[in-house]
């Protein structure tokens, strides 16, 4: 292999990567960073400064919405982990070879339709005159139709639904890599179920858990339709604020500031999560 050919192919392979990262990821982020420090002082008149950020910090509505979004996202992430782990375990360790692929594929079902249709499906099921409420009335379990939409619980159910697949996939792939002999060794040396779970399974699955949590958290924090459509009157979500700034208030400057704030905030949460678990991006998310 000649050295020049190696150089040339390196350049050829590097170019698309560099263009992609530079033009579609880095420059646009710098772009909103730049726009976010422009202050509108009049029609088509701008100055530079941090007023947009100051507005963001001083207005409790925005702050609280961001905190609420983060808090609910963490909750959704935790729920997805708790609900998804047994499923991932089943797929990776209990199901037979053949049903494994089928089950795995079934986990992808939510991906088959858009967020919109999923939310739409939930609405059909959960609204006051929806399938569940009406069925319960019909069976005499409840006397009055109940409204199951427009509260945080529903938003959480819907969000967990949308993201749980991204929790299960990395979990399955790490758990599949685990030799059953490790578990058996754990029991053989005297461990109880709990000990084996706590000291062997969890540490082993940690990269998968962290990867799943990061992706789930990011998707939740960045979701738009599900909280809006299922949350109704009580659904304030930070992406909606960004949307409002951009679409209903044409205020790109503060919208960009919101965007940058969201990015900084979520990056912080991800960083903190990685720190706490002693993992890194490259060993978790990238590993799948």
């Amino acid at each position: 292999m000649s050295r020049d050919a190696g150089k040339l192919s390196l350049i050829l392979l590097f170019t698309p990567f560099a263009l992609w990262i530079a033009l579609l990821i880095i420059l646009p982020q710098l772009g909103i960073g730049y726009v976010s420090i422009r202050e509108k002082v009049g029609i088509n008149q701008y100055e530079y400064g941090f007023k947009n950020y100051i507005d963001f910090i001083t207005e409790p509505v925005y702050r609280n919405t961001l905190l609420r979004t983060a808090w609910m996202s963490i909750l959704v992430t935790a729920l997805a982990l708790v609900i998804g782990f047994p499923i991932a375990w089943y797929i990776a360790k209990i199901a037979r070879e053949r049903s494994r692929a089928a089950l795995f594929l079934m986990c992808l079902i939510p991906l088959w339709v858009s967020d919109l249709v999923r939310a739409y499906g939930w609405i059909v099921l959960l609204r006051e005159t929806g399938v569940i409420s009406m069925t319960l009335v019909k069976w005499g379990i409840i006397s009055q139709p109940v409204e199951m939409l427009y509260n945080d619980m529903t938003v959480i159910i819907g969000l967990v639904y949308t993201v749980i697949l991204f929790m299960i996939v990395p979990l399955v792939s790490t758990l599949q890599g685990m030799d059953d002999a490790l578990l058996e060794a754990g029991y053989n040396l005297g461990g109880s179920r709990l000990t084996v779970f706590r000291r062997i399974i969890v540490p082993y699955a940690m990269p998968g858990i962290v990867a799943g949590c990061i992706i789930t958290f990011m998707l939740t924090a960045g979701s738009y339709l599900t909280p809006i459509l299922l949350g109704g009157k009580n659904s304030s979500w930070f992406t909606e604020q960004i949307y409002n700034q951009f679409i209903t208030r044409y205020n790109w400057e503060s919208g960009s500031a919101f965007g940058v704030s969201l990015l900084i905030f979520t990056s912080f949460v991800v960083w903190a999560g990685l720190r706490l678990t002693g993992q890194s991006l490259a060993t978790t998310v990238a590993k799948e």
Binding site: V61, R127, E128, Y150, G232, K233, I247, T248
Partner: protein
Amino acid sequence: ETLRLLTWGGYAPEDVIAAFEAEYPDIDVEVTLSNNEEMIAKLRATGGTGFDLAQPSHDRVYAAQVEYNIYKPLDLSKIDTDKMTPNLLEGVKANTTIEGEVYSVPHQWGTTGMMVNVAEAPDVKSWNDLCDAQYQGRTSMRLRRTILLATAFGMGKDPFALYSDPAAYQQMLDEVTEKLIECKSVIKTYWTGGDDLSALMLSGEVVASESWDSTAFKLYGENKDIQFVPPETGALAWIDTFTIPRGGEADDAAYKWINFVLRPEITKMMSASTGAIAAVPNGIELMPDDKREAISVAFDQSDLDNLKFFANIPPGIEDMEGLALERIKAAN
């Protein structure tokens, strides 16, 4: 060539498009559904390109054009302005003339008021009734600027008069905000689209709501108890217009469309779909029968005289309103 319409849901029904394309076989109509805010946002993002004809409401053209320069002046000679209701035409022209150039002509008008299931809630008469505790969990509204204005009227204020005085306007907004936050526990949910509202009303989940008249007229056909009720303080009236984006590439087709949809036989089809009243002299008579009946049930002459036309929004007001809306949304 292609005519790219940026318009409201229902404003480009398939049968009208089919008729248009039959008459002008070389024109292809492509439709993007939108609303006032998104029309402006979209055109701002495209720098006025990407669409050939937009239909913002009359009060939303001026500020957007001054600030973002997204429209181009109309060539009135290409429009059959003589077919339009003169006072609507003049009103719109007055609202949308900048440096002597006219940017919009009227298309249809309608009102925003309340939709009420009169069998269940016969007493709903005023904007304030939407927040009446006796309808706990059975009313609705759209969390947009219209409801801010409506609530202000309901509180006995005239928001349009305060447009010129931002501080007073803010003061008014604060009161409105407070009232709507209180109201939150009464209403079932905020509706976001005509369909959403229809489902709520038809299923009986909601018995009274802020509504476009057109939506109410549609439901009247399904259930005669569901009627449009103009509030005591007057229904809010809007005129949706024709406006050509600055980067429009099919002006001739756009003018053809404008003239086409104002023809009497087309107006009828259009109104059947939109439920709104064409800006032509005998607009109401050109409505399909069921809609006409619904209108006559809803309005008497005094209601028509009491219409409150939206006034041009000066720049800056919308930011204040936006924040108010967000506060309401985020409140618990």
